[in-house]
């Protein structure tokens, strides 16, 4: 019997970049197959080819032994493939129910659709408010909607592109369990990820891509995190050791650079309170980690401290200059259409001597950008390249380089390694630690709890807008419970 889905000798070139060089991939019926690889390894491209979104230059796609190399996503859907994309594909102005109906091809009275959508999402264990507009959902629920949409269309094969990238650990677990149940019910799933533990925990088999070629394929049972990591990046990853164990003396050492008392913040959407009566002090040289589940007010907290939103009431004193690494690289951190030089210039005008209102010295700007590219190991086609032409990791490095180049007294980072491969993430974490060592007060939020714990000297949990300091002796599980505390009630 032929395998369910088979990709043979796939080659694909985008301009001068060879995304895939003869990759093979097979998905057996009823399995969860993890597709591992660094950013730019070709994981997404391979699955886009399987789904008919991208045509391969060479190689073939087979479903149940039938050649489907040149099919379209529509045909793929009709034959039972469903894809959950890395970027959200819901229509923000439509309700959850309408989005699901659109994806599944349902028709009927709105109220009927609503009931149907709600019962489906309940049944899947991914509850959603069917009346809510998709654009109003927090990121984690948007992601949930994507999966419900794919399953609503009766997919038998689910291709998931980094589905847990934006989720907090408990939500990620929940989602992975849904995938597991889907496989147990006879479905098959491909999980694109770069999180080793996910692959190890969930998958039956794993395929590792590196620079467009398969470097490893086999069952998960025989693997350990380090054997997979080696296949992904070639050698054991160098990680930052936990800050807590490294320098227990750091807190309290420097002057107080962030002083926040009884702060109240409204939600970014404009409705309700995001943070109530929050107090926090951060000293120079200290890294404070924020642990929180998506949508609990941490976003507003970080943005208020970064000076991007104004508090409703309370006291907030932040010493400048402030460096800010926003969550969304390509819409908030960078302007993809503009050059690297222009992106470095963006927002530096208050400090850089070569930017004056009447004259921007682009020659100096270019030289400065080249320096940063070299200093931060950013792979780019020179300072005149468009920011959009860089890979995700290099874009993030550019943002970090820009924000650190202003020697910030306070650095605020939102999910700074989101969607990055191990190497790039480690480099970013190193830079953040180094900034603290150089005397900056650092506030960092990550949806990856382990990253928060690894980076920070102390951790603050934000739950339903209430800040609470985590005791130094707390275990990971205790912190996880603090993050979910009020939700459970």
């Amino acid at each position: 019997m032929p395998p369910l889905l088979e990709l043979l000798g796939i080659r694909k070139r985008f301009g001068s970049v060879e995304a895939l060089r003869g990759a093979d991939f097979t998905l057996a019926s009823g399995e969860v197959h993890a597709l591992l690889g660094e950013n730019g390894a070709g994981k997404s491209t391979l699955m886009h080819i399987a789904y008919g979104m991208v045509l391969p230059d060479a190689g073939s796609v087979r479903l149940n032994g039938d050649d489907r190399t040149n099919w379209s996503p529509r045909q793929a859907r009709n034959l039972g493939l469903g894809m959950v994309h890395q970027h959200f594909t819901s229509i923000p102005a439509l309700t959850v129910a309408e989005n699901i109906a659109l994806a599944a091809g349902w028709a009927g009275h709105p109220r009927q659709l609503c009931r149907k959508a709600e019962s489906l999402s309940q049944k899947l264990g991914l509850p959603l408010d069917a009346d809510q507009r998709a654009g109003r959902l927090p990121v984690a629920l948007k992601q949930r909607l994507e999966i419900v949409k794919a399953l609503a269309a009766d997919a038998r094969i689910l291709l998931l592109d980094e589905p847990t990238a934006v989720l907090a650990p408990p939500e990620a677990d929940e989602l992975l369990q849904v995938v597991r149940r889907f496989a147990e019910a006879g479905g098959s799933a491909v999980l694109i990820t770069h999180k080793l533990d996910e692959a190890l925990r969930l998958a039956d088999r794993v395929t590792v891509l590196r620079q467009g070629a398969v470097t490893h394929s086999g069952t998960v049972i025989d693997e350990t995190a380090s054997s997979l990591a080696r296949a992904m990046i070639g050698s054991a990853p160098d990680t930052v050791e936990p800050a807590r164990s490294r320098s227990p003396a750091a807190p309290g050492a420097g002057p107080v650079l962030v002083r926040m008392e009884a702060l109240e913040l409204s939600r970014e959407s404009g409705y309700g309170i995001a943070v109530r009566h929050g107090s926090l002090r951060i000293h120079g040289g200290e890294i404070v980690g924020i642990a929180a589940v998506e949508g609990n007010g941490q976003r507003e907290l970080l943005r208020a401290i970064a000076g991007r939103i104004l508090p409703l009431r309370g006291r907030l004193e932040v010493t400048g200059p402030i460096g800010f690494i926003p969550e969304d690289r390509t819409s908030e951190g960078l302007i993809p259409e503009l050059s690297l030089t222009e992106n470095v210039t963006l927002g530096l005008d208050r400090e850089a001597p070569w930017i004056r209102p009447g004259y921007v010295n682009w020659r100096v700007a270019r030289a400065r950008t080249s320096e940063l590219l070299q200093q931060y190991g950013i792979v780019a086609d020179g300072p005149a390249a468009r920011a959009g032409s860089l890979s995700g990791g290099n874009q993030q490095k550019l943002i970090v380089a820009r924000e650190l180049s202003r020697n910030p007294a306070v650095l605020v980072a939102e999910n700074p390694t989101r969607g990055l491969d191990i190497g790039a993430a480690a480099a970013i974490r190193c830079r953040i630690s180094a900034a603290a060592e150089a005397g900056a007060a650092v506030l960092v939020y990550s949806s990856d709890l382990d990253e928060v714990l690894q980076l920070s000297h102390r951790t603050v949990v934000v739950c339903r807008g209430v800040l609470s300091e985590v005791p130094a002796t707390a275990t990971r599980d205790e912190i996880g419970r603090m993050m979910l505390q009020e939700r459970a009630r």
Binding site: A93, G307, R308, F324, P326, D328, S331, E332, G333, L334, I335, P336, E337, L338, E342, T345, L346, G347, D349, R350, I355, R356, P357, G358, Y359, V360, W362, I399, R402
Partner: protein, 352 residues
């Protein structure tokens, strides 16, 4: 350079289309095109008095449109702002009979620019206060401005004999000096100056950089660049309106000397084409302004000498724009991606 070749190709395609159309309609394309050319470039007099005179308002309005588009906003109301400027210029001009030129002209031009900015202030306010998209509001205000002109020239601003629906002519001190014995007025050099200034502003000032940043990525400009995109957008629209108003003032003070209905043969709309054809770059806009000015000037000569209706050159204009847009389109698309990218934020806003 590539763009220049495309512009030339566009020109050739447009003219061939025109020639074919004329041939099919029974005209002699040779005579018509010769008349078109000589009307635009045939003599120094034709070039200055016809082509360049036509180009002045197109360049000024086109530069204004380019500012707005670059900043991610849309000004489709150049026509209305042109008339607002023309009304202000006429009113100011009529009151300046005993003021020296050195004072009268700057006053008149400043007044017309302010009037243009004031006219666009309404859409800007509607946009900031209620989220009304400026594409619609600026467009609709064109009709209001046109009606206002027709009201004024049959009422308060009508010439003393009350026979013709037009204003009295403005006195000599309020008129722009002419170049030699041609009809080309000093407004042309003003337009060049504005183009040069804008070129510097776009490429070398923080203001211009922020404008481009907001146009290309409003969210990143706000979060990472700490720029208020609404403020920058409003600013761009004000400048855009001011330049269109200035074009109206220059037309009154340099060409017509009086206000009347249909003073503008659609300068406000042709200005959009000029801006797009010029790639939203000041140097390009000046060049495309002269080119379109030449076509319109030549059209008059073609009608006179070959009996071909002047509107036939719209075929050429349209063809040039379509080809230019196609030339800058990425593979597979059919419309200029840059334009789409600029329109997209407005669409997003419209959809809530």
């Amino acid at each position: 350079m590539n763009r220049l070749w495309w512009a030339l190709a566009a020109m050739v395609i447009g003219l061939s289309l025109l020639a074919t159309g004329l041939y099919l309609a029974g005209y002699d394309p040779g005579i018509a095109l010769a008349a078109l050319f000589s009307g635009a470039f045939g003599s120094w007099h034709a070039f200055t008095s016809a082509t360049l005179v036509r180009a002045v308002p197109l360049i000024l309005i086109g530069l204004g449109i380019a500012i707005a588009f670059r900043g991610g906003s849309f000004n489709i109301g150049g026509e209305g702002q042109f008339y607002a400027g023309a009304i202000a210029a006429t009113w100011i001009g009529l009151h300046l009979a005993h003021v020296p030129s050195a004072l009268a002209i700057p006053l008149l031009l400043a007044g017309s620019a302010i009037a243009g900015a004031a006219w666009i202030a309404i859409p800007v306010w509607l946009k900031l206060r209620f989220g009304v998209i400026e594409v619609i509001s600026t467009l609709l205000l064109n009709f209001v401005a046109e009606s206002l002109v027709s009201l004024l020239v049959q009422g308060p601003l009508q010439e003393p004999s009350r026979v013709y629906p037009q204003s009295d002519t403005i006195p000599d001190p309020a008129r722009l000096p002419l170049l030699g014995d041609s009809r080309l007025h000093a407004g042309f050099f003003l337009a060049l100056l504005v183009g040069l200034l804008l070129w510097y502003l776009f490429h070398f000032t923080l203001w211009g950089f922020r404008l481009r940043a907001v146009g290309a990525g409003p969210r990143a400009a706000e979060i990472s660049g700490r720029v208020d995109p609404q403020r920058v957008g409003a600013m761009a629209l004000f400048c855009s309106g001011a330049l269109a108003g200035l074009a109206g003032g220059v037309e009154i003070s340099g060409v017509s000397y009086a206000l009347f209905q249909n003073l503008s043969p659609g300068y406000g709309f042709t200005g959009i084409a000029v801006a797009l054809l010029g790639g939203l770059d000041p140097a390009g806009v000046v060049l495309s302004g002269v080119l379109i000015g030449a076509l319109e000037a030549g059209a008059g000569a073609m009608q006179r000498d070959a009996g071909v209706p002047a509107v036939a050159v719209f075929v050429v204009e349209a063809a040039i724009i379509v080809v230019t847009l196609l030339a800058t389109t990425p593979k597979g698309g059919w419309m200029n991606a840059r334009v789409i990218r600029r329109i997209r934020p407005a669409m997003r806003k419209a959809s809530g």
